[in-house]
Symmetry: C2
Subunit: 478 residues, 2 copies
Amino acid sequence: MAKFEKKELKKKSGNFSDWYTDVILKSEMADYAPVKGCMVIRPYGYAIWENIQAYMDRLIKEKGVDNAYFPLLIPEKFLNLEKEHVEGFSPHLAVVTIAGGEKLSEKLIVRPTSETVMYQMYKEWFHSWRDLPVLINQWNNIIRWEKRTYLFLRTSEFLWQEGHCAHATHSESNDFILWALEMYAKTYRDLLGMHGITGIKSETEKFAGADKTYSVELLMPDGKALQGGTSHDLGQNFAKALDWTVLDKEGKKLNPWQNSWGFSTRSIGGLVMVNGDDNGLSLPPNVAPYQAVILPISAEDKSLDIYVQKLKDQLLKSGVRVAVDNDTNSSVGRRFNFWEVKGVPARLEIGKREMENKKVTIARRDNFEKETVDIDQITAHLQIILKEMQEQALARHRKFTQDNTHMTDDYSQFKKIMSEKRGFIRSLWCESKECEAKIKAETKATTRVLPLDAPEEKGKCIYCQKEAFHRWYFAQAY
Amino acid sequence: MAKFEKKELKKKSGNFSDWYTDVILKSEMADYAPVKGCMVIRPYGYAIWENIQAYMDRLIKEKGVDNAYFPLLIPEKFLNLEKEHVEGFSPHLAVVTIAGGEKLSEKLIVRPTSETVMYQMYKEWFHSWRDLPVLINQWNNIIRWEKRTYLFLRTSEFLWQEGHCAHATHSESNDFILWALEMYAKTYRDLLGMHGITGIKSETEKFAGADKTYSVELLMPDGKALQGGTSHDLGQNFAKALDWTVLDKEGKKLNPWQNSWGFSTRSIGGLVMVNGDDNGLSLPPNVAPYQAVILPISAEDKSLDIYVQKLKDQLLKSGVRVAVDNDTNSSVGRRFNFWEVKGVPARLEIGKREMENKKVTIARRDNFEKETVDIDQITAHLQIILKEMQEQALARHRKFTQDNTHMTDDYSQFKKIMSEKRGFIRSLWCESKECEAKIKAETKATTRVLPLDAPEEKGKCIYCQKEAFHRWYFAQAY
């Protein structure tokens, strides 16, 4: 591969947004697609998505939720069934009007989410309390039209999972909603090395068709917040709109209580923003496509090849995802640069000297520390380092989030923070849409979440000074 | 779940096509979607697809092919680039004309296959012989418009994998084409318990845009053939049409040699047809969502519950996929019936008597044989039985295929076979399109494949009596 051509990477410490796009393109994670608003996820980016899928799919199945596949195309009339739902989505729809060479008598919507088509089937399939709970998830592609692409973060097509459960009681549904929310927070924490704030969204910010929406919010290095996954309490809204009833134990009709929850390739955008520096990406080991790369430093040498192959096999056997870079024709500097841009956590350098002394030099991507280790101890040592890097990534992001979370009850202070450094602001708010809209218009900050364990306080709304009981998280959102 | 209501299944020995649809609906593998031509893959059917994906994905990655994701929507002009390609696909396209509330200035095609959009990106990304080979696969959804749905076998939307590789030489590309073909045959053989015939397709039957198409063909119980996976030699057709060149080692421009290969959810249709009987499905253990189901036979009993749970844990630990049916309120007959329709290979019955004697009764789904085994030996014994069932499924289908493969050089005999019992017919053919078309019009039989190892013969075409050198497989196709 012609991978070692010189690629000048933009600086993260310069224009953050330019760096973000540049590092995604140069690490070959993704690229712009020919259709406006769409993107291509290249193998290096897709391997990250596969790691996320494998991790979450196991948690989803352990909870008893089964995967299925529902159709891409939804009859237009289905979307119209739930009033808020259709109003929320109609500006973003892609519409098929011609199929099989003919103009369709009814337009078909490319799914922006699958509530309507799935619940129509639930209604056909499930008629008794014995059929509940319904626990179904799907991994698929979604279209919500966007005019301008921002790789991973804002694209007309994205990949996600959408879970759709139905229960006999609201309390049972609620347990599932909170389980999904915690699963998302756990995925960020343990896999992506990111610290999220979980909580409930305001009425304005909730999902179109839901009674309540919960989300995990992550603070990005530029002080803006990313909504990283949502879990919705749909109440009985869809069941009522579709007239779906099941017979309960007493033979009475019941509208099932429903929830839906989704996590998308947007999360990869957050991962990139948080885990990188002027040299490129710096991936937490648990989600990295390759956790280590072996670089033979000397020119071609048969005994070195054997040494490298043996090391590779040993690492693979112990479960480390490892690549070998055999392109000894390129300069060492270019090779280092290439793997640094890609953010591979550990670089294992082996030259003639290392081989003769039965050693390997390990260089960490996160802090550039180097040490030389006995080949016998490399596997155990590498595993310790990888674990440490994973923990430190999370600790760094947690500290960053804490350092950039401000608490204020003074609106001029609020405005000053938003205009200077941004970040999360925790402020009392009266929960009126008017104040929320005015704060947004004046500062760009929107309500992000109210944490589930937020205590009741007695104070005054940051904006209108009327009574307020809860301290919400505000931030400018992606 | 209300799973044990009486469900009268249509007989396979009656109308085969009615049985096929009925067993898919009643085993809850799939259902018709609200949009004509589309289907829903329910959890039980999707678990089969997940098993196929896991099996093939490992083989694909071992070969060095990476997964990626390319966009669903393709600009109309892309499809027009390759003449045969667009002519082959245009009658089956779904077209997006409205997006984001506006009429689009250029229509977007919902991908019927991804050659054009992928190779446009290859052209942007890869410029040197060092970039070759390009080895990329994707798992995604495809739309090819159909008016009438035949569950799994003919649907407007289906799921598949599509591999798209590019090489410096035709011979290297050819190796990949044949590797993919053999991978598909192996998946049928070792996972799905089915015997396929592999070979090259005729000019008429090849993929639109390919120089050559190879496929694996499987004989169904009604004597029709199912095309079960295809691998295409695209030559330099797309590279030339798109003007994609890379510089070779001497610095000269080269159009890369390309191949594409696909395997879809259609295969599940073949699996159902071959592996079932009047009682429902009978799944080969390697692909079955559950390989065994444990049925406590007595009414509720705490010690029995513990016994069942222990057995379940033991089986899960040894890697057996196992379900427990605790619905002791329903009649035993209905419960047996339910799991038979679903085709679970082994039923483990435990009553009070079995528990007291530390025994389990195993009933095989394929031949209904029952035996009672010591609980200590159940894991080892079950694994032997499952292995045997898998091998016997393949042996049965191989024998069926052989018994229904006819060889004739007499056209009246050919017509008689096609009008009476169908099956594969091996006949000499002059390889002219005219004879092929006339045979099809008169008998419904099309050429399926010429096996790769078919010896050259010297004889006369079954239709026109002119010189013919090869004995092709003919059959009526699904």
